[in-house]
Symmetry: C2
């Protein structure tokens, strides 16, 4: 079961530095792309997340059409799909159909959410900052959802969420243990 | 034993989204601050890393003086120090002295490296982009070092490095397992 996360807490869903599946386009014709380069850039409200993207990406083309993107946070079980979405272009193949993953409608934006991801953030594109090789996209989170059993109300629970962290090539790290600083 | 990492591979030291201890100032009078908001923004050369910082931070004041910062990547053993460096200002306390951590001289910049961190990146400050609440700092990596037993030549080895990933409050996730996408 997923519940809404308050805007001021949405950043904790991406703060660990995990990979994100960005879904763009519309529910009927969507694309998915994996991002490893992301970071929150605000505390409090509004929640803003920075995403780094290469200007040539098909997802960028779709994002510019409606200014909307959903960020879907996968757990370890989706590592195969994460790698597919990060290494093949949606211009050539319908990656979502290939993956067999289930989409569901977002509430505030046109791109769909990935039902199999424990957390989803509905975002609108704000400022775009060219930074040489890549562009920096400032996203504003308008709605965030998380499965109740992987979020304690303030932080993700890595033991249950098992977020993926890109290491290079086909390798991913799995975050599955937490500790408290004394 | 630490070895130099080629510039085009330096990004793999921060790519997993781990927390970073930034050291600023000079060897004789340095400050340390923990950053969770970071991401690479380039592939290849030069290696550029984006760091998000609040304008009021003491580390920012020091960084502006000489335009240099070292990024030190801690492993799990330093969780107590990571939390100290992230929750107390260097204006009030000499955090490095309190921590007892050992500094060593960098080769290309004035701020020191943290000897106890398995990886270190010597960086120069490039463009600064105001982004509302926080500023975006574009850093160029001029020299990178890593302990030979935690890096396989292309990626970090989480089983040995055990990078820390911020979860909120006093909580950190530990990255200590990897898997390959099939």
């Amino acid at each position: 079961v997923k519940v809404e996360v308050a805007a001021e807490k949405a950043k904790w869903l991406v703060e660990p530095g995990c990979v994100i599946i960005g879904t763009t386009g519309v529910y009927e014709k969507a694309n998915a792309m994996t991002f490893s380069w992301q970071t929150p850039i605000t505390s409090g409200i509004p929640c803003k997340i920075l995403l780094v993207i290469h200007p040539d990406r098909y997802s960028y083309e779709l994002l510019k059409r409606n200014g909307e993107i959903a960020l879907n946070i996968p757990g370890e079980r989706l590592v195969r799909e994460v790698h597919l979405f990060g290494s093949v272009s949606g211009r050539e193949r319908d990656k979502i159909a290939e993956s067999g993953l289930l989409l569901e409608r977002a509430k505030t934006i046109s791109p769909p959410l990935m039902a199999d991801c424990p957390a989803n953030l509905e975002c609108r594109l704000g400022e775009v900052i060219p930074a040489g090789q890549h562009d920096l996209l400032i996203l504003e989170v308008v709605r965030a959802l998380v499965e109740t059993d992987v979020f304690d109300g303030s932080s993700i629970i890595p033991e249950r969420f098992k977020t993926l962290h890109y290491l290079g090539g086909r390798k991913y790290g799995v975050l599955e243990r937490s500790l408290a600083a004394l």
